[in-house]
Subunit: 329 residues, 2 copies
DNA sequence: TTGAAAGCGCTACCAT
DNA sequence: ATGGTAGCGCTTTCAA
């Protein structure tokens, strides 16, 4: 490469990184050679020599549904604008794979890690703590954050969501979930707490099929509910995908929403507001979490270490739309 | 690190990569030091020295909806099982960002690239061609594949889908699309071709809002259709997200599907079969494309270069479900 | 503005 | 089974 352009390697390096520092003639010779050879600098060598990777790592539990879409969008927007490449790794809801992902990302010397959740294997925690890079844990609130933590109390959200259904006059309230990740378990515990507090006639009913969440799974879950139990007066679904599927299955088999059954989702995914009936749900501010997380990372990296708290509770909000209503039974 | 365990660096390297090649005592000393320091080998150095990255690059146009979910799932399954790390990069439907993604991935010396689509900037093509690694272009059929190509004719699928609606007796058939990527344009051209061939009373009606596809956008598009035109007898939606949104909006405003309007989607996404009414759509075998692509890459990399064609047409299939029916108007 | 020398942290190769 | 040597392809530092 350097030979083809008849310059020294260091000049090539400079021409590629700061073209202004090189004379026009040389730059042109180099550009020609670069193009001719389809030369792409070896990032491994570059990273090794400069000990900068210009990349950040993002770990999400799934790429197979739309739950983290807005979150990822926010992360991409902020990081790309700040000159960082975003490496997305999918832990597939497995702490083992999450630990593997952390190793991979640290091995790549990403300059920050944004990770969903606050529960990790002891080894993961250890790796993250020792890594000396900014670590942003998101979506939940940690008792003991590794570093920066931006999220909301999933248990509290679950409790309030359940109370919202109780306040509508419902007693038989079911909880519906696919594979039970940690945040689902927290919401479930909030649900149980609210039910217990409401009185003995509020019996928890949990329906679960351990598969990754999807609209189709929501339909399947509703069918299994219909087959096995009496139909509850209200359903608290672990996410909007399940809620949407449940609504559609209700429609198909003639159960009216919300007259016969109230259905409440979680996350306020893109389709919730435009569904028919529109979906009542708990907004978790997915975009905002991503934006704050990325900004926190960028701030840390620029050394600006702002005076903001290391833990941010973004809260949540219950949107009462058409899929829930007062108990009429 | 090596000093802490009092062994040579090369022994550390061996202990980490093939523990069996090292005596138990040393291995133990090394493991202890590794853990104590939370040591993670620098992949940049490893890659540089070994010129192996053990990773493959995947470029998709979006991570913000569910279209590529099954495809990604298949890729992950095959590659992880074969010992490759999967690096997913999002080109956000931009050829410029796609070229950037290619540079990044080649810079990382990924061992193969799986990329959605067959249209790239000349520079992208050049980089890919010169890279000497397996390149798998997916979803479309190329006249001139860079290397391996697994997909289907989007134009033909669009034509047949339109013909399917024509055969149901519909004349006023609309085409609905969000942001117009290349595959959407191909399907649109197929639609126009079928309409033209059907006769002069078949006037193409295209409704488009250049935003990324979502169920919500489908609702919005249907509203704009209602506001601006007479309502068509049938709607060919560029993907199931839009179709789903359109169906829900129809329901909301009292248009009966399929009695008043037939709605056809594309891709057979996870929710299509369980929607209510269930969604007629064109299955594009998302999982199969991903699986074949990953297997082709793994084969190439293992030198087994099988005797299979370098281009595979996986075809497509029209699923006539409940959202389409004979024209009753 | 350009280049020479040194070294980033690993692994391949060859010894022992 | 273990280690010494060299070198991967860049960038940093210092000189010219």
């Amino acid at each position: 490469m350097a030979k083809l352009a008849k310059v020294s390697p260091i000049t090539v390096s400079r021409a590629l990184r700061k073209p202004d520092a090189v004379s026009p003639e040389l730059r042109q010779r180099i550009d020609a050679a670069v193009h001719k050879l389809a030369y792409v600098p070896n990032l491994a060598a570059s990273r090794l020599a400069s000990s900068r990777s210009h990349s950040v790592g993002v770990i999400v539990p799934t790429l197979y549904n739309v739950i983290f879409a807005e979150y990822l969008r926010a992360l991409h927007e902020v990081f790309l604008n700040s000159g960082f490449q975003v490496v997305v790794v999918n832990s597939r809801y497995s702490q083992r794979e999450e630990e593997q992902a952390i190793r991979t990302l640290l091995g790549q010397r990403v300059e920050a890690i944004i990770i969903v959740g606050v529960d990790h294997t002891p080894m993961s925690r250890h790796l993250l703590t020792q890594s000396k890079i900014p670590v942003i844990e998101t979506f939940e609130l940690a008792d003991n954050p590794i570093h920066i933590n931006i999220g909301l109390s999933q248990a509290k959200a679950g409790r309030d969501a359940t109370q919202f259904l109780i306040d509508l006059g419902h007693r038989k309230i079911g909880f519906v979930v696919g594979q039970q990740d940690i945040r689902a378990a927290a919401r479930l515990s909030g649900y149980k707490e609210a039910m217990e507090k409401a009185g003995p006639e509020y019996q928890p009913m949990v329906t679960s099929i351990p598969q990754h969440s999807s609209i189709a799974l929501g339909s399947t879950l509703l069918v299994s509910l219909v087959n096995h139990n009496e139909i509850p007066e209200a359903l608290f679904c672990n996410d909007d995908n399940l809620a949407m599927g449940a609504i559609m299955k209700c429609r198909e088999i003639g159960i009216k929403v919300p007259q016969d059954i109230s259905i409440l989702g979680f996350h306020d995914l893109e389709f919730a507001a435009s569904a028919s009936p529109s979906l009542s749900t708990v907004s978790t501010r997915l975009y905002e979490i991503g934006k704050l997380a990325a900004e926190a990372a960028v701030n840390e990296l620029s050394g600006k270490r702002l005076d903001v708290s290391t833990q941010i509770d973004v809260g949540y909000e219950i949107f009462a739309r058409q899929s829930t209503g007062k108990n009429k039974r």
